[in-house]
């Protein structure tokens, strides 16, 4: 159990590290995090998602978290975590639309020169995508 928790947390750190590097490398304007594979989101993961959104914002990229399971949403709210500062969408398609919309609103019309997608096989981890400008 201890090892699982440690591994789990380390994977979150890896996600933050690789994602911020990807944003800079691909000059990404949008980050889409798909958490549909996550059976639970505890306070640590919730905080990590907020941190990722903040890091991305500082690097001038918009983050949208998509695919949250209904039971996860209920549990998060009852834990007192409403993911402040994290934009969410029902699925990847709507999340991408949201990112495109906000880029369009800021005067940039979505020219996606690069698209990066990562998948963490280790359970339970989110997949993430970085979309280049």
């Amino acid at each position: 159990m201890t090892i699982q928790v440690e591994m789990h947390d380390r994977l979150v750190m890896t996600l933050q590290d690789e994602l911020t590097h990807s944003i800079v490398k691909h000059r990404a304007r949008g980050v889409l995090i798909d958490i549909s594979a996550l059976e639970i989101v505890d306070s640590f993961i919730g905080r990590a998602l907020g941190d990722i959104a903040s890091m991305a914002r500082i690097l001038d990229a918009e983050t949208v978290v998509v695919g949250m399971r209904p039971a996860v949403a209920i549990t998060l709210v009852e834990l007192g975590l409403s993911l402040p500062g994290v934009r969410t969408a029902l699925n990847a398609e709507r999340g991408m639309a949201l990112i495109r919309q906000s880029l369009g609103a800021s005067g940039r019309h979505g020219r996606w020169r690069s698209f990066v997608r990562r998948r963490w096989r280790s359970n339970p981890m989110p997949t993430s995508s970085a979309c280049g400008r």
Binding site: M1, Q4, V5, E39, I40
Partner: protein, 53 residues
């Protein structure tokens, strides 16, 4: 392990999720602040219902 027990006890999905999340929070605190520990999972039953309390 926790989810398997919750499922076996007949908890619905939302309650399973809450139980597993609570176990995750406890395990993390035990590890981070207590330096580790043991996990004991025990099913409690009342006269009226199993898996509801």
């Amino acid at each position: 392990m926790t989810r398997e027990l919750a499922v076996a006890l007949g908890f619905r999905l939302v309650d399973q999720t809450k139980i597993v999340t609570a176990a995750s929070e406890l395990a993390r605190n035990t590890f981070v602040h207590g330096g580790g520990g043991a996990v004991l999972l025990e099913a409690l039953t009342t006269a009226r219902a199993a898996g509801s309390g």
